[in-house]
Assembly symmetry: C2
Homo-oligomer: 316 residues x 2
């Protein structure tokens, strides 16, 4: 299986400049025990790192192919990323979402100019593939795609450039595109740094898979239990192969730890993080004994949290 | 009266590198009507821009003078800034606060290693001056000081470098150090850009003063009414002289507009802002007809808000 290389990631960095921002690496003086920096991907234009991979995948298409438009199935940050990236290129975007998707998310995606197609949840993937096959739209998957992985890997390039003394990088893992990309960049540029994946205990299929050496399936009902709604997917064969190569360890965090980390990020770092974006801070705060020591970067992957949930977590 | 120049600000930038961070200038794609960028000073180590001026003032002291230690009277962000900056230099800091100061703020200041001295509010300034006179501590005022103004002005340098096409800069005004410094930098580097000050309606002494051309005093009881607790001071002769030279206009915002802007910053920009830090976004959102058109930078000056208040504003 062909895995991505540093050269893929460097090419992606060239493509996404101007579409995604170079997010700040923020030193955290409240942190005790080890120096902590936050890579604030929640400050991206769509509020999450997904713009990097989606934009890179669309940018890598040939012009005639791109003009046919793009299709994605997602109700989360990937949907908004594909819609926003397609708009930047001026090409049509179709986003297939489950018909149970909250109005606010449908409207946020439509606000980027995408056509939102609501289908029963079980038909979502098939509907997207049908659109791609019948109308020639380019399917942009959320993680199972070399250019998507390379786009997310640009975060690792920036970390290595901005803090060459980084010793530990904490990355959320779900479908594995983000961890695959960042891990590849870090292992190439800072070979002595350790890359740790972080996963909710309630969706810990990757932890189980990496420990056994083989990808495992957890029932979707199990994974759906975590509050970290961006971390309910599981790796593909492609991302799992990357993870096996570049991840040094994996820690899991509890729901209470995730909730506490959202609160700490808001009150100590002045950053709004969604639960999925807060898992790495949770690992830093509560699982330090399972992590290597040293200068630590926690990737805050996104900030798209409902105002009511944020308010609830602030009062906890 | 000697006003600060671009050279003072450039010198300050050299001193504070490594102590304050270069905050990101974040493009906001949700903004409609005019392109908006946020200068996110709430991401500074102490959560507010004050670290720039305080650190610069302490750095500008001669080594023998600095070793005697510093004193400040403040219960807000300036207190934490002086305490944090003194700690970086390894010199003692005394912070005089009103005896009505909430425990959390006293503890936050003490956590930086400062000695916190609680006195009745009316004796605050006198107590600080007495400490300075009797023990040789260097008094670091919150805004009425050339090096403090120059330190805050480094924000203007960064805006001019990062977005040379800036057409409008919105800056909160209270004691006027921030607006004086940023205005001086912007007027020097981007002479065609307009610098607008933003003030709460309930503490609009500067708006009244600039319109009449003369500094005016508002009773402290009036100014204390605004939720923007960092904007309850008023300019000194020194800062007012700067403001008259560099401010093109001033707009005031209501309490409801400030509250709404805190919510918008949290939900659309993923930034936690304190009410004082949200007034510029409030002006952008609600007073557009009073502002020049064009590429606009809103300075989000700080993010130190109580978790309970933030939760309340998120539910509004």
């Amino acid at each position: 299986m062909q895995l991505i290389s540093l050269e893929h990631i460097r090419a992606a960095a060239g493509r996404i400049a101007g579409a995604a921002i170079r997010t700040p690496l923020l030193p955290q003086h409240w942190a005790t025990g080890a120096p902590l920096w936050l890579k604030a991907e929640n400050l991206q234009p769509i509020g999450a790192f997904k713009i990097r991979g989606a934009y890179n995948a669309i940018a890598a298409l040939s012009e005639p192919r791109r003009q046919r438009g793009v299709v994605a199935y997602s109700s989360g940050n990937h949907a908004q990323a594909v819609a926003a990236a397609a708009k930047m290129f001026g090409v049509p975007a179709m986003i297939v979402v489950p018909d149970s998707t909250p109005r606010t998310k449908v409207e946020a995606t439509a606000a980027h100019g995408a056509k939102v197609i609501e289908v029963p949840i079980a038909q979502r993937e098939l509907a997207a593939h049908t659109l791609a096959d019948q109308h020639g739209f380019n399917l942009i998957p959320p993680f199972d795609h070399h250019e998507v992985i390379a786009g997310q890997g640009t975060i690792g390039l920036e970390i290595a450039e901005d803090l060459p003394g980084t010793q530990v990088v904490l990355v959320p893992v779900s479908g594995g595109g983000l961890a695959s990309g960042i891990g590849t960049a870090i292992k190439s540029l800072l070979p002595s740094a350790r890359v740790y994946a972080v996963e909710p205990e309630l969706a810990a299929d990757t932890a189980e898979g990496l420990l056994s050496g083989t990808r495992v399936d957890w029932p979707v009902e199990w994974r759906a239990r975590t509050i970290a709604d961006g971390l309910r997917a599981q790796p593909s064969e492609l991302t799992f192969a990357h993870l096996k190569r570049v991840i040094d360890g994996i820690v899991t965090v509890s729901e209470d730890e995730i909730r506490a980390a959202v609160r700490v990020l808001a009150t100590k770092a002045n950053l709004v993080a969604e639960p999925s974006g807060a898992v790495t801070t949770a690992a830093y705060l509560f699982r330090r004994d399972e992590l290597p020591e040293g200068r630590t970067v926690a990737v805050v992957s996104g900030g798209n949290i409902d105002a009511a949930l944020l308010a609830e977590l602030l009062r906890a």
